[in-house]
C-alpha cells in the first residue's frame, strides 16, 4: 500500500484524465447498437425478401399470390441451368486443386528461401489482388484470342487458377510464418528423410491452412462473374454467367430460386469453414 502511494506521488505531474461518466458510455453504446442493427438489416432484408419471393407463385411483379415450389421445380428440370451449375462446380474443383497446389508450393519457396528477384515475385503476387477484375478479364480475353485458344472450360480453369492462386499464396504464407520448424528438425534428427518429414510432419501441420485456402479458392471461383464472362465460351457458361444473361433479359422468378440455392450453398460453406476453425483451436 505504501509503495503504491509513493508510485502515485512520483507520477503526479501527469494528470490522469477522469474516467468517463457511465452515462456517456451508455449513449455511445446505444449509437453502436443502433448502427449495427440497421447495418445488418440493410445487409439481410434484400436477401430475405428474395428468398421469400422465390416461393411466390406469381410470375411477375412483387405481389404475393400463394406459396409455391414451382420455380424450384423449373430450376431442377431446366437442363441449361443444370449444365451451367455442373460447369461451375467442375471449374471450381479444378481451379481449387490447381491453385492450392501451385500457391502452397510457391508460399513454401518464398517463406523458406532467399533468392534474387524475391521482392519482385512478392510484388507480382500482390498485383492480381489489387488490379480490378475487369482488367484481368479483358487481358485474358485478348491473350486467348492471340494464342488462338477457343474459349471454354479450359480457358475458364486457366483463368480461375490465375486469380485464385495469389489468395491461396497469401493465406499459406501467413500460416507458414507461424510454422514451428523445430518439429521438422526433430523428425530429421530421429532419422526421417526429407520426403517422410514432408509427408508426416509438414503436410499434416499445414493441413488446416490448406483446407481453409481451398475453401477460399473454391468460393472465389464459384462466385466469379466478371472474369468468367470474358473467357467463357458458348457451350460452357458458368452459373453466374447464366444468371447474368437471365437478369438482363428480364424478370424470371427462376433466378430467385437459383439465388436462394446459391445462398444456401454459401451458408453451408461458412458453417464448414467455422467448424474447421473451431476444431483447429480445440
Amino acid at each position: 500500500m505504501a509503495s503504491d502511494v509513493v508510485l502515485l506521488g512520483e507520477r503526479s505531474e501527469i494528470k490522469p484524465r477522469p474516467r468517463k461518466e457511465s452515462r456517456g458510455i451508455g449513449l455511445g453504446r446505444f449509437a453502436l447498437v443502433t448502427i449495427t442493427f440497421f447495418t445488418f438489416a440493410f445487409l439481410y432484408v434484400p436477401i430475405a425478401v428474395l428468398i421469400a419471393f422465390s416461393f411466390n407463385s406469381a410470375r411477375t411483379g412483387a405481389t404475393w399470390q400463394s406459396f409455391s415450389l414451382q420455380w424450384y421445380e423449373r430450376v431442377f428440370s431446366n437442363t441449361r441451368i443444370l449444365e451451367a451449375a455442373a460447369n461451375s462446380l467442375i471449374v471450381a474443383a479444378l481451379a481449387t486443386v490447381g491453385s492450392v497446389v501451385i500457391g502452397t508450393l510457391m508460399a513454401i519457396a518464398m517463406e523458406r528461401y532467399q533468392f534474387r528477384a524475391k521482392l519482385a515475385w512478392d510484388a507480382l503476387l500482390y498485383l492480381p489482388v489489387i488490379i480490378p477484375e475487369i482488367v484481368m478479364g479483358i487481358s485474358l480475353l485478348i491473350f486467348f484470342a492471340a494464342i488462338n485458344l477457343s474459349r471454354g472450360i479450359v480457358t475458364l480453369v486457366i483463368s480461375h487458377i490465375a486469380f485464385c492462386m495469389p489468395f491461396v499464396y497469401l493465406t499459406m504464407r501467413a500460416r507458414l510464418a507461424d510454422f514451428d520448424r523445430s518439429l521438422e528438425e526433430a523428425a530429421q534428427d530421429l532419422g526421417a528423410d526429407e520426403w517422410t518429414t514432408f509427408r508426416r510432419i509438414t503436410l499434416p501441420l499445414l493441413m488446416p491452412g490448406i483446407i481453409s485456402s481451398a475453401l477460399l479458392a473454391f468460393t472465389l471461383s464459384l462466385d466469379d462473374f466478371v472474369i468468367s464472362f470474358f473467357v467463357t465460351g458458348v457451350g460452357s457458361q458458368t452459373l453466374p454467367v447464366y444468371i447474368w444473361g437471365q437478369i438482363r433479359r428480364g424478370i424470371t422468378p427462376e433466378i430467385n430460386a437459383i439465388s436462394t440455392l446459391m445462398l444456401l450453398l454459401s451458408i453451408v460453406l461458412v458453417v464448414v469453414a467455422q467448424l474447421i476453425q473451431r476444431r483447429q483451436r480445440a
Binding site: 501527469i14 494528470k15 490522469p16 484524465r17 449509437a31 453502436l32 447498437v33 449495427t36 447495418t39 440493410f42 445487409l43 434484400p46 436477401i47 425478401v49 428474395l50 419471393f53 411483379g61 412483387a62 497446389v101 501451385i102 500457391g103 508450393l105 519457396a109 528461401y113 533468392f115 515475385w121 507480382l124 498485383l127 489489387i130 488490379i131 480490378p132 475487369i134 482488367v135 484481368m136 479483358i138 487481358s139 485474358l140 480475353l141 485478348i142 491473350f143 487458377i161 490465375a162 492462386m165 528423410d193 526429407e194 520426403w195 462466385d223 462473374f225 466478371v226 444468371i243 447474368w244 424478370i251 430467385n256 439465388s259 446459391m262 445462398l263 454459401s266 461458412v270 469453414a273 467455422q274
Partner: protein
C-alpha cells in the same frame, strides 16, 4: 525416388526451382503476359471490325485526352462537384474515382462502428455476429446485387408496398445514388471483416493507459488505436475501393448503365461496341491509377505507423 531425393538434397537451388516453377510459370504466362499484350494492343490501331491491327499509334490515348479543355465550374448535380477541366473521358475517369472514393468512405463510416461493436461483444454473441457477416461475405456478389435491385425495382416489393398504402411509387434505380447504394451494399462485408479482425486483437487496456497518461479520446484513438488497426483499415479500404472503381455488375444493375464508370466503359469496348485497342488503353490507365493509389495508400499507412511509434 531415393536418387532423385539425394540430388534434391544436395542442390537446394533445384528444390527452390521446383517449388517456384509452377507458380512462376502460371503467374508469368497467364497473368503478366496477358497484361503486356494488353499494353501492346493499346498502342495499335483498330481494324474495321474493332480488333487490333498493326500500325503503331498513340491515337487511343489521344482519344482519351483529346477533348479536355479548361472550363472551371461548380455543380451540385451528383453531390458537390468542382471542376477545372472538361472532357468526355476525363469526366468518366473523374466520376469513377470520385464515386469509388466516396463509397469507400461511406462504407468505412458504417463498417467501423459495426466492427467496433462486434469486437466488444461477449465471445458467444461475437461468433454469432461474425457468422452473420461471413454469410454475405461468402455469398455471390452478383446474387446479392440482384437481391438489392429486386427490392428497389419499379414493380418491386418497396413500390408495391407504397402502392398498397395509396402512395405514389418512386423510381429508386438508375441514378448515381443507386449505384452508390449498390457499391456500399456490395462492399460492406469486405470492410467489416478485416476491420473486425484488427479490432478483435486490440488490447483495450491500452486506451485506458493512454487516458491515464493524459490523452483525450481523440488523441488516444489517433496515436494508439489507429496505428494498431491500420492493417485492417488498409485491407478493408483496398477490398472496397478496387472493386468499386472497376465495378461492372453494380453499374449495370443499379445504374442501368446510365451512370457510366471506367470498368463498365471498358467492358463496353469488348462487347457492345467493339474497339479492343481503345478498351486496352483505358484498361491500362485504370490499372496505373489503382496501383498508384494502392502504393500511395500503403505508404501513408506505414508512415502513420512510424510516427505513432
Amino acid at each position: 525416388m531415393a536418387k532423385i531425393l539425394r540430388v534434391l538434397r544436395e542442390q537446394p537451388g533445384i528444390r527452390l526451382a521446383g517449388l517456384m516453377a509452377p507458380g512462376a510459370f502460371w503467374l508469368s504466362v497467364f497473368f503478366l503476359v496477358p497484361l503486356l499484350i494488353m499494353a501492346w494492343i493499346s498502342f495499335l490501331s483498330r481494324d474495321p471490325l474493332g480488333f487490333p491491327t498493326p500500325p503503331l499509334t498513340l491515337q487511343n490515348y489521344w482519344e482519351i485526352i483529346r477533348d479536355i479543355r479548361f472550363a472551371p465550374s461548380i455543380s451540385l448535380a451528383d453531390g458537390l462537384a468542382i471542376r477545372l477541366f472538361e472532357g468526355l473521358y476525363l469526366e468518366l475517369f473523374w466520376r469513377s474515382i470520385w464515386l469509388s472514393l466516396l463509397s469507400t468512405v461511406i462504407t468505412l463510416l458504417i463498417a467501423f462502428p459495426v466492427a467496433l461493436f462486434m469486437a466488444r461483444l461477449p465471445p458467444r454473441y461475437r461468433n454469432l455476429a461474425l457468422f452473420l457477416v461471413m454469410i454475405p461475405f461468402w455469398t455471390n456478389f452478383l446474387v446479392r446485387t440482384y437481391a438489392l435491385q429486386f427490392m428497389l425495382r419499379s414493380n418491386g416489393p418497396i413500390n408495391t408496398l407504397l402502392r398498397a398504402l395509396g402512395l405514389e411509387p418512386i423510381e429508386l434505380l438508375f441514378t448515381p445514388t443507386a449505384v452508390m447504394l449498390g457499391l456500399v451494399y456490395g462492399n460492406l462485408p469486405f470492410m467489416i471483416l478485416p476491420l473486425y479482425t484488427s479490432l478483435e486483437k486490440f488490447d483495450w487496456t491500452m486506451i485506458e493507459a493512454a487516458h491515464d497518461l493524459g490523452a483525450d479520446t481523440l488523441r488516444a484513438f489517433q496515436r494508439v488505436m489507429l496505428p494498431l488497426i491500420s492493417p485492417g483499415l488498409l485491407a478493408g479500404s483496398i477490398l472496397t475501393f478496387v472493386p468499386a472503381i472497376g465495378a461492372y455488375i453494380t453499374v449495370e444493375l443499379m445504374g442501368g448503365g446510365r451512370t457510366n464508370m471506367i470498368g463498365y466503359a471498358i467492358a463496353q469496348q469488348f462487347s457492345a461496341s467493339v474497339n479492343w485497342p481503345f478498351g486496352s488503353a483505358m484498361s491500362l490507365l485504370m490499372m496505373i491509377i489503382v496501383t498508384f493509389a494502392a502504393v500511395l495508400y500503403f505508404r501513408s499507412g506505414r508512415g502513420e505507423y512510424r510516427n505513432a511509434i
